[in-house]
Symmetry: C2
């Protein structure tokens, strides 16, 4: 019943507030501050370690990075591979599912880049 074959927006609107809806999950993941950035960095670099994320992403804290990675893993979008060595080594990669999400997200980001001026101008006007 929650297979969500009914993908007309009008249908979705009637149960959108139920937080279990996967559409909400995906959109929330996209909207949370860092998830999509992590996803796209993985798409660009293939394999990334924790401290590499920390270096690449300016302004993120370790806790938030940790949470972001954990949630992405829970949602099946990234893999976490731990090497049993000292000092510890952990590598993150995209899953197949995560890889599939990259193109649509990239399209969106490209759109944002192209129309940044329009949006910022509109904001200026309405200030």
């Amino acid at each position: 019943m929650d297979t969500e074959k009914s993908c007309t927006i009008t249908e979705i609107a009637k149960c959108y507030h139920k937080s279990e809806r996967s559409i909400r999950i995906v959109l929330e993941r996209i909207g949370d501050k860092w998830s999509m950035l992590v996803l796209l960095l993985l798409a660009e670099h293939g394999t990334v370690r924790f401290h590499e994320f920390d270096n690449m992403i300016d302004g993120i804290s370790q806790k938030v990075l940790s949470n972001t990675l954990k949630t992405l893993e829970t949602d099946g979008l990234i893999n976490r591979k731990v090497y049993p060595v000292v000092p510890p080594k952990v590598e993150y990669t995209l899953t197949e599912l995560g890889t599939g999400l990259v193109p649509p997200v990239k399209t969106l980001v490209d759109w944002a880049c192209m129309h940044s001026k329009d949006i910022l101008e509109s904001r200026q006007k309405h200030l």
Copy 2:
């Protein structure tokens, strides 16, 4: 300097935390609870009035709907047309900019519909 022609993710990662970045603005808009639903409903219905949104969208409050519409207007994604009659009549439509955002978002929503099972299963596993 904030023209954001540099659209490699690695570049974006270095200034992503600055909230003025339009990429963040767009992703936030997508991530906030109702904006994309409103956008897609407009894409499906063309013109929608305030109380029609209220009826179509289950679980939204008037205040939140009002805020959502206001922000979308500020960002230049929707138009607000007021008819000077009693009782008041206000119609919302997509702008050109907003119309352009629809296809990428729709792609994302379709992806979410198609892979909802995968995500929910993965969540189950990791609970």
